[in-house]
């Protein structure tokens, strides 16, 4: 009952956030100096008169009233129509349909890889028999977050692709082409997640119940996997949700280095060309990614933490 209510409230909140994101970006983009029509048609070599440029502007933006445009755009978007790109003269929807799968593949594979790294680091730092080995694992997150993405990306191409010839970077299928960039993008995401998880594990280990479980005769490994780890993942999960949202919005640097035509590339081109319709669409996709990832996390956390499951009524009815 009350968990159904919880889900409804979370959904409504998610929709409100999306609407807010739309509104803020819409008016911010309106306020930008200059516009895409200018950028594209001002070139003197095209020889267009100011009147002709004005006509183009009317063609692309419909009416001039921002309020009318606001509602017009919202309605259009709800029907899946994102308008036209001024730069390329094609529907934004076509651009997104080409870019989104690339970005989604990168996001999903990169995200899963980052979870794998996080878990491996946590296990290594907690369970390896020798103390120096554990300390090496504990140092990994700090080390990884200090490496800039453009450097590690180029490093990965140089070593894995050019030197070791494990995977080519050009002329490959969509999934093979995703592996190297996903590897590059997973490292900086895994670093803060792993750091948080290690901290949380250290805190959980100090809790009295862990000592109580040891007195039952459970081995270090069993205590770790059954009790310490499940009690430590919650904050890490929240952070993972945020990281995934960021990935959906497009990884500009990674896409540029690996020559992927994803949302990141699309965003970069749209910003330099002041292509408002494309920007608006990209922002909305990013916001949806964020909201969806956080929604999933919020719904997952009560499954891991029984004390957060539903609430009020329980305590009073059970005391006897």
């Amino acid at each position: 009952m009350s968990s159904f209510r919880h889900v409804c409230i979370q959904l409504i909140r998610a929709l409100l956030i999306l609407w807010g994101a739309f509104t803020v970006t819409f008016f911010l983009l309106q306020m930008m100096p200059g516009d895409a029509v200018m950028v594209r048609f001002m070139d003197p070599e095209l020889g267009l008169s100011p009147e002709q440029i004005e006509a183009m502007r009317v063609l692309y933006s419909g009416s001039s009233s921002p309020v009318f445009q606001y509602f017009h755009t919202i309605l259009r978007m709800l029907h899946g129509d994102f308008g036209y790109s001024v730069q390329l003269g094609v529907p934004v929807r076509t651009l997104i349909e080409a870019a989104l799968p690339v970005t989604l593949r990168l996001a999903v594979v990169g995200f899963i890889l980052s979870l794998v790294w996080t878990l491996l680091i946590a296990i290594g730092a907690s369970l390896l028999p020798a103390r120096p080995l554990r300390q090496i694992f504990q140092a990994i997150p700090g080390f990884w977050s200090a490496i800039p993405l453009y450097w590690s990306g180029i490093f990965i191409i140089q070593v894995l692709s050019f030197k070791l010839r494990l995977l080519p970077v050009v002329g490959v299928g969509p999934w093979e082409g995703t592996i190297l960039p996903a590897l590059a993008v997973s490292l900086p995401i895994a670093a803060p997640q792993a750091k948080l998880l290690l901290q949380q594990i250290e805190e959980t280990e100090r809790l009295p119940f862990v000592m109580a479980i040891r007195t039952k005769g459970a081995s270090q490994r069993s205590v770790f996997f059954r009790h310490i780890l499940p009690n430590s993942v919650t904050p890490c999960l929240t952070m993972a949700g945020i990281s995934f949202g960021e990935l959906i919005a497009g990884a500009i640097v990674t896409e540029t280095i690996f020559g992927l035509n994803g949302l990141g590339r699309l965003t970069r081109d749209a910003v330099s060309g002041q292509d408002v319709a494309v920007l608006q669409a990209v922002v909305m996709i990013g916001a949806t990614g964020f909201v969806a990832a956080n929604l999933v996390v919020d719904l997952l956390i009560p499954l891991i933490n029984p004390s957060l499951r539903s609430s009020a009524g329980w305590k009073e009815t059970s005391g006897s």
Binding site: F209, T215, A218, P230, N231, K315, S318
Partner: protein, 537 residues
């Protein structure tokens, strides 16, 4: 003396933390079906000994010498694998704080099942049946329902029952109970100790009970070891220890324990005729639809102490918040020095909050750890009095003298002083505002008995010198008896009893008060000693 083989044999045990000796030359044996109590104040090394026996000392600790054997097996020489087979199976451990000793993420049934899964080859269905049986055995009426409940759905006493079920699941020869009831209400305390006694008698296990509470040990233990600074101050049978203590430290402990004597006779105070310092009339406080306190009334005369006794969940904290004017009542009134605190102007409020100081329970957490003692006590002086630095300095010294703290402490931080000293600082800080009323919330509950006794003496002294009025809230009847002139006993937000404190302690009218008084440990011993007398050798 004893012809039986000992279960646990500790001899010449020495343990040090980072090279500093914490425990030295400890030797004792425990026998089947007997309870041995390790008594000591905080820092005496009693928990360290318990952890050394089960081989779970923190990495900074190191056993420097001595032998620990369990049924002839040397525990320090056992491999990690062998130790895991012994823990839970040969040694049951009942931890200190039930509220934090269960995995919050798993149903309690699964947590009992874990110990069976680790040590037996029972199948899933057998384990489940075994757990249900254990739950019933430790006093749960609906084992199936309890099996699936999570720790946060159970009360403290119920959680302790679950932990006891884990400890006794495989009928281990040795059960270590580390302060098994310190975190529980007095009526629950008795039930849990009774349960432990019953299980010990049934299984013939040997119980090593670690406690700071002399009264609990007196009721439950056959033999006792009194520890002081990591060494044995006295080792004796319980009866001998209480009847003719051999060491001077034991005698001091006995003298300081509130459970073993009543309030020293105080001269009668003139109480009638004056205006009450605090007057609470028909007070009802509700959170939403839930009534936390209902129809409470009491008067506190100036210069006297009103004790408020209640177990957890009784509404004590809510009542205190309302007394301080922090939450409004649903009905009824609170008058402080004749003024209704819920219809005062903001100037009156400021004046009242100066003259009425709240002093909290936990000695360390109520002092800002980043401020020196000087800054902590100076803060209210700066806030309330415009006088200059020289005046403040003089006042500061005066306050320290009143609470008997050395001046050398002024530049230290709260983490660098003891719990008793922290409470003295908290008192000095409260007194800095020159209050007429102190509201003391579980003020001595976290302190060792010898420190507790000194703080209670200080409170009486301050009351006489400064004519202070105290409201003293506690769950500990023995402590309240030491200090209260009048008394309210509350339960589920209702006033069970109100009146002269000695009168209530001598002739309790309400059945609940009678239960409470009977549950105070330390009085069963006469009956118990007789009953157990025949078993002594």
């Amino acid at each position: 003396m004893n012809t039986q083989r000992p279960v646990l044999d500790v001899s010449h045990l020495g343990i040090s933390y980072d090279g500093k000796p914490a425990v030295e030359n400890i030797s004792f044996q425990t026998f089947p079906g007997q309870t041995m109590a390790l008594i000591g104040e905080s820092g005496s090394g009693k928990s360290t000994i318990a952890k050394a026996i089960i081989q779970l000392l923190p990495p900074s600790a190191c056993v420097t010498h001595g032998i620990i054997t369990l049924n002839g097996i040397s525990l320090p020489d056992a491999t990690p694998r062998a130790l895991n087979a012994i823990r839970g199976h040969q040694i049951g451990f009942i931890p200190q704080d039930p509220s934090s000793s269960l995995d919050p993420r798993l149903p309690v049934g699964r947590q009992i099942e874990e110990v069976l899964r680790l040590h037996t080859s029972q199948r899933r269905a057998e384990r489940r049946a075994h757990v249900l049986h254990l739950l019933e055995h430790v006093g749960f009426s609906e084992p199936e329902r309890r099996f699936l409940q999570y720790p946060h759905e159970l009360s403290g006493g119920m959680k302790q029952r679950v932990l006891i079920a884990i400890a006794v699941a495989l009928a281990p020869p040795l059960i270590i109970a580390d302060e098994p009831t310190s975190a529980l209400d007095v009526t629950i305390q008795g039930q849990i100790l009774d349960l432990l006694d019953r299980l010990r008698e049934e299984s013939g296990s040997s119980v090593l009970m670690i406690t700071h509470d002399l009264a609990v040990a007196r009721d439950r233990a056959h033999d006792m070891i009194v520890l002081r600074h990591g060494q044995i101050a006295e080792q004796n049978t319980t009866r001998n220890l209480f009847e003719n203590p051999r060491s001077s430290y034991t005698r001091k402990l006995l003298a300081d324990s509130p459970a073993f004597h009543s309030r020293p006779a105080t001269p009668e105070r003139p109480v009638s005729g004056t205006q009450p310092a605090i007057q609470v009339k028909d007070l009802t406080i509700a959170y939403g639809s839930r009534t936390a306190v209902s129809h409470l009334s009491f008067d506190v005369q100036p210069g006297t102490t009103h004790g408020i006794i209640g177990e957890s969940g009784s509404g004590k904290t809510t009542l205190l918040r309302c007394l301080m004017g922090l939450i409004p009542p649903q009905s009824g009134s609170v008058h402080v020095q004749g003024k209704d605190i819920f219809s005062e102007t903001s100037a009156e409020r400021r004046q009242r909050l100066r003259s009425m100081q709240l002093v909290y329970q936990n000695p360390w957490s109520s002092l800002d750890p980043r401020l020196t003692i000087r800054r902590i006590i100076e803060e209210p002086l700066r806030n309330y009095f415009p006088e200059g630095q020289a005046w403040r300095q003089a006042r500061l010294h005066d306050l320290l003298e009143r609470v008997h703290l050395p001046l050398a402490l002024l530049e230290r931080y709260p983490s660098e002083i003891s719990g008793g000293q922290c409470q003295r600082v908290a008192l000095a800080r409260a007194l800095a505002a020159q209050p007429d009323i102190l509201v003391l919330d579980e003020f001595v509950s976290a302190l060792d008995v010898t420190v507790q006794a000194r703080i209670l003496e200080l409170l009486s002294e301050l009351q006489k010198e400064l004519n202070l009025t105290f409201v003293f809230v506690s769950h500990d009847l023995a402590v309240v008896r030491q200090i209260a002139d009048t008394l309210s006993i509350i339960r589920y937000g209702k006033q069970e009893e109100y009146g002269d404190a000695e009168q209530i302690f001598r002739e309790p009218a309400s059945p609940y008060t009678q239960t409470l008084l009977r549950a105070i440990p330390g009085q069963q011993h006469s009956g118990k000693a007789k009953r157990e007398g025949s078993k002594e050798w």
